[in-house]
């Protein structure tokens, strides 16, 4: 994983894990890697890994059993909620940005229709 220097690593990893949840690559109730493993996986420090799980737990994404491990929340509805939240945020940022640039909804839709994996910088 390549980290964006502008955004805290722990947030980038959380984003990545949330994405995996939404995509179904991580399922409700599943055991997550131990914080030590997570640290190795993402090439980060163990403290940072611990912080990731701590924040995710506070957000309700997972829960923890001392000495056993960290587990994905079992509430399936949460996965849908995460998906919607992430989509809304993307949509809002995009639309606000495009309107600031002077594009109207029609322009935007046709640009999307034409969109073919173009590469942005």
């Amino acid at each position: 994983m390549n980290y964006n220097a502008e955004i805290p690593i722990y947030l980038q990893v959380i984003q990545d894990i949330k994405k995996k949840m939404v995509q179904g690559r991580i399922i409700p109730g599943e055991k997550l890697p131990s914080s030590r493993e997570l640290a190795i996986l993402y090439k980060i420090n163990q403290n940072t890994a611990a912080r990731i799980y701590r924040e995710m737990e506070m957000a309700g994404y997972c829960f923890t059993r001392r000495g056993i491990g960290t587990f994905v929340s079992e509430e399936k509805e949460m996965f849908e909620k995460i998906k919607e939240e992430m989509a809304n945020e993307l949509l809002h940022n995009f639309m606000t940005g495009m309107k600031d640039l002077g594009y109207q909804k029609g322009d935007i839709i046709s640009q999307i229709a034409d969109y073919k994996e173009e590469k942005a910088k």
Copy 2:
């Protein structure tokens, strides 16, 4: 201007200036405020203001004449280029994000059609 605590202020200001260029509120060749003035305008630190011009100059958006000031680049095509670049970046980030979440082009277009200034957090 309200700053987002998560993103470096200098980037938010650069974004704002670029937006003004694209919208025609800043025109090619125009003299930009001194970094001291910029600092006051945006309520930021002078170091931050200096950094903004440094970065914008490196990106080719403006140039500096010692003792006179900082000026917007005179190449009009650049304005179009900036607009396209910004739009492409927005589009690419958006599409990549949405596809990561599992949305198809059709879903995305209909969501945009429904979009009505919803507020994301």
Copy 3:
């Protein structure tokens, strides 16, 4: 038994055993379960179970006969002493806490009079 994640399990178990002594559900001289059995009973680790008896023995609540088992202390007065100690500790903690919050004895008594199994988080 539901364990509170904030407090060490061995302390929670000791508390529980002391409670049983005070309530008369464990009587003076009675043989206590082996640490293996204790571990199963409370769904805890054997090391934790061993620690519990070690700590209780140090406090004088029980004694161990090698090869035979661990027994509740035979001194009946101790049971009364434990009860008083626990009550005093509870009372002291409570009163100190409430006074720190600015409550006077009168307020406190009326709050207790009103108390009806409210649930704290």
Copy 4:
């Protein structure tokens, strides 16, 4: 400040600060000590101090301005809420504990009426 080894230091400090808020020794909107000062004040590490403010901010007790400092929340109602929460927790723990020991409401009230700064272990 003497720390209880059983409870995380950061929680003990948060508790202490909350107490000061409730007692009016810290008022709404007031600037809190910088994390470096807090570290010295409480003889803890700067990271621990930072964590304290981070958690307090997430709980809504204070807010932060980068480069400026951390400030107590300006919502006065929150102070009352904290006081009630802390009192309820104390009350609940106390009553549950006393009832487990076999005391009835009447006994408890008379013990409180007799209470005179006795010292518990």
